[in-house]
């Protein structure tokens, strides 16, 4: 009797549990899990969805080519370069935005005037539309744009630099744009973390005669290291899938030196209509993200203090 009652209870709980999870589960299955497996499957095919006129004859339009797409990827000059470019974006913007963000958060966390308006200034780019900001930056870095005028006015350059089409310069506007838009986020996260550092630690250090800089390196840095770790992961993933800020700058320029992984996936899928190949590129992107997240988790013991 008791057991039956328990069973009935369990069934009730099961029904309630799945009823509550159902909306999320359905969306998950339809829009995450199913597309994910479809990406895996398509990555082994040559497939152009735009050719499919009737879904009943779908098989006719798909040709299985095994690992061919993945072989092509490593000889695809543009895609290999886009991976390199994406790493350059990661290696430049992640450290700079994290260091600058921490410094500004540290300064803002102490006693300053007009704290809220100042915080707002750093925050606006983060909450704003990336296309709007990209449009502004593309305009600033035009041949006759504000940046060239300023640099020429200062006498630092003799003639305008071609920021958007010169391969050696073309990453710079994007790097600035990314730092500009991500700094506010880093700063807010650090400000929250800094509030959680006990004041008593600083007080004790002051009594021991530690300078402000020593306090920063010996107390603040270790205490916020879990946050730093979190930010490194979040920012790395954000950069690996960078698209908007790159897309704004690659419009029309034809060069390969500033394109990114997702930009190349987008153009394989929606300008070459190579949907099998684009899927294979997507799988490579996912592997890169998993690999670096794993490395970060492995390496965190060395420098993260919980």
């Amino acid at each position: 009797m008791a057991r039956k009652h328990r069973n009935q209870n369990q069934i009730k709980e099961n029904i309630a549990g799945y009823a509550f999870v159902m909306p999320a589960l359905v969306t998950y299955v339809l829009l995450i899990a199913f597309p994910f497996f479809l990406t895996l499957i398509l990555s082994f095919t040559k497939f152009n969805f735009l050719k499919v006129r009737s879904l009943a004859k779908l098989g006719k339009y798909i040709s299985w080519i095994g690992l061919d797409n993945f072989r092509t990827i490593f000889t695809d000059r543009r895609f290999v370069q886009s991976i390199g470019n994406t790493f350059v974006y990661a290696l430049t913007t992640v450290p700079v935005s994290i260091v600058l963000g921490l410094v500004i958060a540290y300064l803002l966390n102490g006693r300053v005037f007009c704290k809220k308006p100042l915080r707002l200034a750093f925050f606006i780019p983060y909450i704003s539309s990336i296309v709007a900001l990209g449009a502004v930056f593309k305009f600033l870095f035009r041949e006759d744009g504000l940046v060239n005028r300023a640099l020429m006015g200062l006498g630092w350059i003799a003639e305008p630099w071609k920021w958007t089409v010169e391969p050696s310069l073309s990453k710079i506007p994007i790097i600035f744009l990314v730092i500009w838009t991500s700094l506010g986020y880093v700063m807010i996260i650090y400000m929250a973390a800094l509030q959680n550092v006990p004041r008593s630690l600083y007080e004790a250090a002051t009594i021991d005669g530690a300078s402000g800089f020593q306090q920063f390196t010996r107390i603040t840095l270790p205490m916020v290291s879990p946050t730093t770790f979190y930010l490194v992961i979040v920012r790395l993933i954000a950069i690996f899938k960078i698209f908007g800020s790159v897309n704004v700058f690659t419009m029309g320029s034809s060069i390969a030196s500033n394109t990114s992984i997702v930009q190349e996936i987008y153009s394989s899928a929606f300008s070459d209509y190579a949907h099998g190949y684009a899927s294979a590129q997507s799988v490579v992107l996912l592997l890169i993200i998993i690999f670096f997240t794993a490395i970060n988790f492995g390496g965190q013991k060395k420098w993260v203090h919980y």
């Binding site: 369990q10 709980e13 309630a16 549990g17 799945y18 509550f20 999870v21 909306p23 999320a24 589960l25 969306t27 998950y28 995450i32 899990a33 479809l38 990406t39 969805f49 300064l107 006693r111 300053v112 005037f113 100042l118 915080r119 707002l120 606006i124 780019p125 983060y126 909450i127 704003s128 539309s129 296309v131 709007a132 900001l133 449009a135 502004v136 305009f139 600033l140 006759d144 504000l146 700094l183 807010i188 996260i189 400000m191 929250a192 946050t227 770790f229 992961i233 993933i237 690996f240 899938k241 908007g244 704004v248 419009m251 996936i265 899928a269 949907h275 997507s282 799988v283 992107l285 993200i289």
Partner: protein, 277 residues
């Protein structure tokens, strides 16, 4: 001593203020360019303020018969409101189940959900394109809204919050004969208000500024979102930078105003997402 503290604070403020000003320069320049006329934007003897204030640029951008910013605002607001509200409700329900309902298979489902936190949606654009095209959601605002229904981060954060709520609250209600629906809807969910507001802010930012999905799924001009209107001006033959900047300003200023009024929630919302790695 007091005086010394004051001057240190002043110096710190100045340092940050210089940074902040550098941060705002591009935006100030965007706003002033949006009020110039086309020729003045590129005039040789360049100056910050417009010689003649062309408010008409905004009228042109907002009422263009082809791609109007007004229509784009409505579209974007529709996406943002429905996407955010649905995400909060669906995530709350799932979080409640994971935290407070003892159903079989809970761990498996939860781990499956968590696993997606690492997979960016960019990885699945091709299948999503195929899917939406097939079921007739292509060129439909719902193609942008639906993916917002599921958000693993929101579920995870809310679950943490529900776990933190004492079980006594539930037990008392259960004795009164309340089912899960009442416990969830009337007792526990109202207690998560602060977290919900934070998540709402995050969802708002991501819906409002979304770029890639509309680019792929919304190709009809009457369906354009704010991002696409700006892009349209960037690609337009006439290259009207004054209008382009007016469009960019139109996209940014309302969000900034909203931010000023709800600064606390924005900051808390962003910070919540990064409480712990």
């Amino acid at each position: 001593m007091k005086k010394r503290e004051f001057s240190i604070t002043l110096v710190k403020t100045l340092i940050i203020a210089v940074f902040a000003l550098a941060f705002l320069l591009p935006l100030i320049w965007m706003v002033t360019s949006s009020l110039k006329n086309t020729n003045e934007v590129f005039a040789g003897n360049w100056q910050w303020l417009p010689r003649e204030w062309k408010w008409g640029n905004y009228a042109a951008v907002w009422t263009d018969p082809d791609v109007s910013m007004f229509k784009a605002y409505l579209n974007t607001a529709f996406i943002t409101v429905i996407g955010t509200v649905a995400q909060l409700i669906i995530s709350s329900m799932a979080a409640y189940a994971f935290a407070k309902v003892r159903f079989q298979g809970k761990q498996v489902v939860f781990v499956l959900f968590l696993a997606t936190m690492m997979m960016p949606t960019e990885v699945t654009i091709v299948p999503r394109f195929i899917l939406f095209k097939t079921v007739g959601l292509y060129n439909n605002l719902w193609a942008i809204i639906l993916p917002h229904f599921f958000n693993a981060t929101a579920i995870f954060l809310l679950r943490q919050f529900y776990i933190g709520l004492p079980d006594d609250l539930m037990e008392a209600a259960k004795i009164d004969g309340a089912g899960h629906l009442r416990i969830f809807g009337q007792i526990l969910m109202p207690l998560t208000k602060a977290s919900l507001i934070s998540l709402m802010v995050l969802s708002f930012i991501s819906c409002w500024n979304e770029y890639m999905s509309p680019l792929i799924f919304l190709i009809k001009k009457p369906l354009y979102t704010i991002s696409q209107v700006i892009r349209w001006y960037m690609l337009d033959d006439l290259q009207r930078y004054d209008l382009n900047m007016a469009a960019a300003t139109s996209a940014i200023v309302p969000v900034v105003i909203l931010f000023i009024f709800c600064q606390r929630y924005f900051v808390e919302g962003i910070a919540t997402s990064g409480v712990k790695g």
